[in-house]
Symmetry: C2
Subunit: 359 residues, 2 copies
Amino acid sequence: MSDHIRLHIPGPVEVSAGTYEAMAAPMIGHRSKDFVALHNDVHPRLQKMMGTTQPVFLSTSSAWGVMEGTIRNLVAKKALCCCSGAFSDKWVDVARRCGKDAEALQYEWGTPINPADIDTKLATGEFDVVTFIHNETSTGVLNPLEEVAAVVNKYDDVLLVTDTVSSFSVIPIEFDQLGVDVLLTGSQKALALPPGLGIFAVSEAAFDRAATIKDRGYYFDFHEFKKNQEKSMTPSTPCISTIYGLRHQLDVIFEEGLENRYARHEKLNNLVAEWVVANGFEFFAPEGFRSKSLTAVKNNKGIDVAKLGQIMREDHKKQVDGGYGKIKGKTFRLSNMGNETEESIAGLLAALDDSLAKL
Amino acid sequence: MSDHIRLHIPGPVEVSAGTYEAMAAPMIGHRSKDFVALHNDVHPRLQKMMGTTQPVFLSTSSAWGVMEGTIRNLVAKKALCCCSGAFSDKWVDVARRCGKDAEALQYEWGTPINPADIDTKLATGEFDVVTFIHNETSTGVLNPLEEVAAVVNKYDDVLLVTDTVSSFSVIPIEFDQLGVDVLLTGSQKALALPPGLGIFAVSEAAFDRAATIKDRGYYFDFHEFKKNQEKSMTPSTPCISTIYGLRHQLDVIFEEGLENRYARHEKLNNLVAEWVVANGFEFFAPEGFRSKSLTAVKNNKGIDVAKLGQIMREDHKKQVDGGYGKIKGKTFRLSNMGNETEESIAGLLAALDDSLAKL
């Protein structure tokens, strides 16, 4: 399509023709055996990708809906919210709006979460939930999930909620092995689906906690999800077309192979990193904590980021992101999530070269 | 497609090839001017269909999400839930699960809501919200919205929440004129879209009430929707592909003309009704309160409804509904929502004739 602007923003990302074709499968009833078959086709593969034998739930919502639901299901005492970017900062506000007590463990944007700080906080005994964003999409920081999980697991009565919105399917994440209690993601990032589907797993400890919590509602109630999942269904009418798309993308992912997919994301991410260095830019995230999904480029050269985006769009029909919230213009972001290839990333970088030259 | 089972269940309904094609438009960023353009294309037409100058919101959820959100936004004292079927009965439970006080105004399934009963209840001064389902999908009863609204409007401090999930776009509904406070619907019924999109309007009185209510959360917060709608956006990442589909269906609807569409639904509904009578069946809903969207056929002849459904599916590749919940087998339901035509309904009825003969 001539007016197609190719997305290189960190979500939504490009959706393939094959996915759209899969989504156009005939509509089915969500209480029918057709839906049961669809559910049972995707479910074990999602478990495998999450590294869990726990049920994985399909939520007809964006990931924020699941995040809010998680707060409502789990927080009895107080949530410790690890904050270091636009999305992680928001958890504190959302938790409080749900009537929950919450405290920010606040870092400068771009600074990785320090597990030792979590340990100090949890030692007070004030907290029963930790919210943690694995890959902070706004800053391009990959936080140390393994170390954070090890700390939280020292505390029997504290549950770890992990947002993998922009890391899921990019790097391996082992839910059971890590001892995570809720792992959530969304459809429009590395799964390369349209937005509107939240996917999440819940530990037994989290189910037990939820059972003791009042006022958790219906739409995001973990036990409603569990009860329905046992019948291969969802509590409410699910976004069936997006789940058809998910089935297709799971076919694509498992055909490529999980390890190959992780390796491809790393390789493409490295290509972007090489371009950053070669062009005299720096990274917003510190070395060792850089996302494999996207690159937040620090605008240390003081270029006109808005204009760069405009040239990319007008001359190259490609959309890059000009920075999120308070780091808009001070950073720009390039995604390598989803179905990107060496060729498509080469095209992105060539277009960036041309656009930079025109600034 | 040879394995295509045509849906004649009361939602999800058949989705057209044109809608799927529209949904395959290139993905866009939800904070981009492209999304603003999409929003501004659908919004005024939704206002027109709802008969309102209030903002109309796009919720990435099924209608139940909006229902729960509405409860959380509006109930301070107590909700009066008009109950007369599977879906209306559920409101009481959902309200209580949100920690709200709620009372059922309970009728036998199939009995229309009596506005005088609401009046008696509201006169106690105990209630601040009435929940009301316009077209109870489980029983095929069309409840008297105009009369109910007139009663609720007598009470200044009581808000009327109206679920039009299976009546919206089938019969005219005038939000402003009726004095409704929240009107909500879903995408997978008469709009003939895939599920996953909730659509709702909120009155000024409801915004005012919500502003006084604590713990209403973020994902379904009316004021978050309002603030974002003013920028032609949504609070969370929206189900963009479904909104593309909505844009297409609005094109189809306005090309047909709203009045013509209402007339078509009535005509198709009458064709089904004639078949019911001609075949010696009765209606589950009383005369004068029959839905125009679907027909709940009373199984007064004691046929094997499950077998009827099976023959319809196997021999005719058509799916009808064998009754919902406690009236399963005692009723069966035939939908004429969405893009159905005289031809497609004739095909449905001929298939039913054949299937009945084979019982």
